[in-house]
């Protein structure tokens, strides 16, 4: 019988702890598959964030570092400068990257660090119980925005990819989603390019992945996907914002 699906070598045997319907798991899998397909698992050094994916260091089947909240791009910079031939990546949530770690990501991009970031935007702080993130949509309820995000007090959600795309050191910037099988395939392609960008030494690469948090959104997994499609996608348009191969 032909094997049509095998678990990637890029993941360990550890069982994910993510909530049912959480798309962190899908993003882990496609990232791990890319590392395996590019044949770089043995050279990969990942940096896990603080957030629901803090335990990513137990899931990726390569050397891993656990960074302080928001500092993953700085930690990755230290690793990459010490070991420039290795494949270094960060995996970060939106509280981690867009709030407490905003300076670290902007300057890693600004320096054009040859690292790759997988940025999981679920419009909320998952791990700490559903507080407002810089990416929470206007009107969206969160435990620290019980009446919904008030634009006049909290501003409009931060569009990280658009912001980073203004920085020349950010060679590859793309926003994807993992809501449908077709989009998952596109997301995987983007992640692969983001690693190729690093392998070819072109500069900083980031893929923003629109993701769900059914638990803190208070929805079933199916409703969460619909909510992402109806509310997040219009505000966070998908597509490539920077591509080093097109520039040439």
């Amino acid at each position: 019988m032909a094997v049509v699906f095998n678990k990637t070598q890029g993941l360990t045997e550890k069982e994910f702890h993510y909530c049912p319907g959480c798309t962190h798991g899908i993003i882990h899998r496609i990232t791990a598959e890319v590392l395996e397909e590019l044949g770089v698992l043995g050279d990969a050094i990942g940096v896990a964030p603080v957030g629901c994916s803090v335990l990513a260091y137990d899931y990726f089947n390569c050397d891993m570092n656990e960074a302080a909240h928001g500092r993953a791009p700085a930690v990755a910079t230290g690793i990459k400068r010490a070991l420039p031939d290795k494949v270094v990546f960060t995996y970060q949530g939106d509280g981690d990257l867009a709030s407490i770690g905003a300076a670290e990501v902007v300057h890693a991009a600004h320096r054009g660090e040859k690292i790759t970031t997988i940025f999981v935007n679920n419009a909320i702080y998952g791990m700490t119980g559903g507080q407002m993130a810089p990416t929470t949509l206007v009107g969206q309820k969160a435990t620290t925005a019980p009446y919904g995000r008030d634009e006049s007090l909290c501003g409009q959600p931060l569009k990280v990819s658009e912001m980073l795309a203004t920085i020349n050191g950010a060679a590859f910037v793309e926003r994807v989603a993992v809501d449908t099988p077709a989009n998952i395939r596109k997301a995987k392609k983007a992640i692969k390019k983001a690693f190729e960008c690093q392998l070819e030494g072109k500069g900083y690469a980031i893929v923003e992945v629109l993701s769900t948090c059914p638990t803190n959104w208070g929805m079933t997994p199916v409703d969460a996907i619909s909510w992402l499609q109806e509310n997040m996608m219009p505000y966070y348009p998908m597509g490539n914002l920077r591509n080093p191969w097109e520039v040439e």
Binding site: T12, L41, G42, D43, A44, I45, V47, V54, Y57, D58, F60, N61, C62, D63, M64, N65, E66, A67, A68, R71, A74, V75, A76, T77, G78, I79, K80, R81, A82, L83, K86, V87, A103, E104, V106, H107, H110, R111
Partner: protein, 354 residues
């Protein structure tokens, strides 16, 4: 090797390179700017890497990354910058990574001043970061010691897998003195088989991490780390005792102030008053055992510091175990104690305890 004349801040960089450090991550702050400047000039020549980070927070986290990758790495700053590095120092201790951190202290609190100070003693020895961790702290009193202890700091960091702090001040950083890079004995250091360097498919993944979600696991990590601290307390204490014999008053002073205190001791001698000095070179672990050398002639101790009200004096009290009266003399904010002022303070203290 011949002696060379070098500024403290450059000598510390040269010493680090001599000790095999090829990676430096820093952020400008006076009075230590010559350290990153020197490293930015020298490291590219030896195939290393210098990064001017976006902040001290980022710099120390870059140190975390490089240390986790198994290389010798250093950062330097001055007081407010070291305050920002505390998060990273705690994580580095928790993840058991080796690194060297230099603090050329300036006056505080807040933005304070850019002149010399010793008001980060608490920060250095008690730790400003969270958790049960310690850092080995060397307090050099001259540029030669700055060089020697910076080099030693790298070995100690690797041996214990713990951050090591070199605590100077603006004066030591800015001062030029003749120094010599001594050939030291190579320490027998363990292989860094824990480093994240890529598995090459040849071993299980390594994980650099301070998170232990299960309480018993975190307690076990803390116990393991504590055992290292106990070993440091037993083996790494360094101090100098100076003219303790027959001393009526024993000063306790470190770094720059210990030099001034030695001048005060000479002045007192001219007036027929015998004074001695205990000079802690490791501030943590504190040289408690030095206090056993205090002669029966001693009537009082005096902590002399560039700090308002004193910080090290707390450790002097612990080491003294209530035996002798303890006085204090200090200046702060960048003001430096004059030998004569120390003499007067000592005479006043002795007058009071007679």
């Amino acid at each position: 090797m011949a002696k060379v004349l070098m500024k403290g801040n450059e000598a510390v960089g040269a010493a680090a390179i001599k000790a095999g450090c090829k990676y430096f991550f820093g952020y400008p702050i006076t009075p230590q700017n010559e350290v990153p400047e020197y490293m930015s000039k020298e490291l590219p020549k030896i195939g290393g890497s210098f990064v001017q980070a976006e902040s001290e927070v980022a710099a120390i986290n870059m140190v975390y990354g490089a240390a986790g990758a198994g290389v010798r790495v250093m950062t330097s700053s001055s007081s407010p910058g070291i305050a920002l590095k505390q998060e990273g120092i705690s994580y580095i201790a928790g993840a058991e990574l080796p690194c060297v951190i230099v603090n050329m202290m300036r006056g505080g609190p807040g933005l304070g001043s850019i002149q010399s100070s010793q008001s980060d003693y608490f920060q250095a020895t008690r730790g400003g970061g969270n958790g049960d961790y310690r850092t080995l702290v060397y307090a050099p009193a001259n540029v030669q010691e700055l060089v020697d202890y910076t080099m030693k700091a790298f070995d100690m960091a690797d041996y214990y897998r713990n951050p090591v702090l070199v605590l100077g001040d603006g004066m030591i950083g800015q001062m030029m003195e003749p120094i010599e890079f001594k050939e030291t004995e190579k320490m027998d250091l363990p292989e860094k088989d824990w480093a994240t360097t890529g598995t090459k498919g040849a071993r299980k993944p390594n994980i650099v991490n301070s998170l232990r979600l299960q309480a018993p696991e975190l307690e076990a990590l803390n116990q393991k780390i504590e055992a290292k601290y106990m070993e440091m307390e037993e083996k790494e204490v360094i101090y100098e005792s100076y003219k303790l014999e027959d001393a009526e008053i024993v000063f306790v002073a470190y770094g720059t102030v210990s030099r001034i205190t030695k001048n005060a001791i000479d002045l007192l001698e001219q007036e027929g008053i015998k004074a001695g000095l205990i000079r802690p070179i490791t501030l943590w672990p504190f040289p408690n055992k030095a206090f056993a050398e205090i002669p029966a002639t001693a009537k009082a101790l005096m902590s002399v510091e560039m700090s308002q009200g004193g910080q090290m004096i707390d450790d002097v009290k612990i080491a003294n175990e209530g035996r002798l009266p303890i006085g204090f003399y200090g200046r702060s904010g960048g003001m430096v104690p004059a030998p004569q002022a120390i003499v007067e303070a000592a005479k006043e203290l002795l007058g009071g305890v007679k």
